[in-house]
Symmetry: none
Subunit: 197 residues, 4 copies
């Protein structure tokens, strides 16, 4: 059925191989040298594609950066499901922090930087990367509430920003560690809140 209806547009079709080579080169450069190394010219050279080809498909650095990141970075934005919502929260945050400690951290910080002078990159990152994580967080929160671990009526935005904001701030400023222990403590603090018992 579908085969009958699909009217391929005329002309030489886009070369998927080239597209992938470009995305891979972009990703590698981002993870190797961050924003500075991530040059359209460098991407072109490494991927073997012509600059023209890159500009045909991506309007600017940011667009390519974010797309290569979203396409190539592992995406376990999925909280585990064990008995304890708090434990799941910690596990997932540890995973995230572990990623941020490594190559991913470099890339994320580069993209965040780039996003500051390119609104499209900003929204693409927010929606393509943060939102899925926020959605997954919502589920674990719901589970926690259902199980009586968390109080009802938790505002997703606030919880998400507190948790992800903490981690990302540490990536950006490197003023505090992202170790497993540090993450656990951070989650604990968030869970317990500030107020006295």
């Amino acid at each position: 059925m579908q085969a009958l209806m699909e009217h391929r547009s005329p002309g030489r079709p886009r070369c998927e191989e080239t597209r992938n080579a470009i995305l891979r080169a972009a990703y590698e450069l981002l993870e190797e040298g961050g924003l500075d190394a991530f040059t359209i010219e460098a991407v072109a050279e490494r991927s073997g594609a012509a600059k023209t080809t890159i500009y045909r498909w991506w309007p600017n650095r940011g667009a390519l950066a974010i797309e290569s990141f979203l396409e190539l970075s592992e995406k376990y934005a999925q909280f585990p499901q064990t008995g304890s919502a708090i434990a799941d929260l910690k596990t997932q945050m540890r995973r995230f922090a572990r990623a941020l400690r490594g190559r991913i951290g470099q890339i994320v910080s580069s993209i965040l930087a780039e996003a500051q002078s390119c609104p499209e990159t900003r929204t693409a990152f927010a929606e393509g990367y943060i939102n899925p994580r926020r959605a997954a967080l919502q589920q674990v929160i719901d589970r926690g509430v259902a199980q009586g671990e968390f109080r009802a009526g938790l505002p997703l935005n606030d919880v998400g920003d507190a948790l992800y904001g903490s981690l990302l701030l540490r990536v950006l400023l490197r003023h505090a560690p992202l170790s497993d222990a540090a993450v656990d403590q951070l989650v604990d603090t968030a869970v317990q809140g500030l107020r006295a018992a």
Copy 2:
């Protein structure tokens, strides 16, 4: 002692007027157009100083950016002191958010971006801008604990990162508002924590 003996080095002394003109121009450009508009060349032109002069005193963009910011931005990193620590917290966070909503937000996001490819800028921002706020936060926390509003043993890093990280993330991604109400709610969430009563 040293002050009395200070043997002014020979030669023409540094021109304070020029220094200020440069810092002011830098600040203005940052607040007007962010990272993109903030060019050494543009700073030179607007300030009337020669590029050479700028490079004589600042090693790179980041250094100038952060110095102009720290010198010219208003610095009420001081929590008010009313009866309630929570209220003080909210008030101060509102102030901060209000600043971030305006020109300062533009500059902060630019500096954070720049910091990603310049470690010196990163530490300068962390220490010159975030740390004072963190220190002030410590005081209000202490007061809160003393008054019985907050529980004892609150880790400053975690609380600070959660609060400031939330706000800064919203500056960086613009995915959620920085309105007074939003800030209040954010503080409330942090104060109450996630756990069920």
Copy 3:
């Protein structure tokens, strides 16, 4: 014989309409904007043909330029035949100059320019455009000699180069006019020569 038997080669025959559209577009572009406007890409767009099609039939810019010119430019490379050879010479030179003053001049100068980096274009122009004129010139010279107006033994090359070279040089450098009067005078000078009576 062959014509009768001509076994049309297999496959779709060449589309004359397309060929003409291409030549016309090429010619127009040449006369409108000269060398700069004459782009294969522009020809393709204006003619509605694909670049591929153009490259199938013409090896390069120059070939298309010269062919469109030779095919579409009016070709009165025929000297008139009145009583006086000198008068005929003037008439014909005036005609040529008149053409060169207008659109044709633009095209000719473009082709001459293009010819400097493409030998094929050079010989094509020399043989396809200049040679016919030279041949016609030979006839009027012969007639002039027969009528006793011109001396015998005139070297065609030299006369032709002097006359056509003068006009073309004025097209190329625009340092002197191509008006009828100027052309007449130019012919007179050539006819009389330099030597004293």
Copy 4:
């Protein structure tokens, strides 16, 4: 006096070495490969100068081409002075032709080509290169007239165009030789004119 008044403009003075390197590189490229090889990029690479520097001083290819040519090409636009004006004419035309047969011919044809899409180059070439030759020609004509070899009232423009136009046309089209003998014959034809004795 002048020395006292000359107020050097401020800033780093223009580097003559660089200027010369650029002009020399440009000239070499022109004489080696003509228009095609003459690329701003190639000039930059060969001269060791930055592209920026070239663009700072010359607005386009043509300007650089013509300047390098006028500055570096030998300029014996001076007719010899022997007894016979005709002989002098031949000698000088032979010299010119000899130059055109070699490297200079390549350059001249390239500049003429470039001039077709750049009016400034056109006038620069006409005035800087052709005019001096025309002026020198005027002198030999005057001498010829005074000596009774040439008739009075010879129009410089026409004579010059006929002679130089012939030679340049042969450079552009390569349809006829530029040998000494050919040049002599060309001059003879011009001197004698077409008309019968």
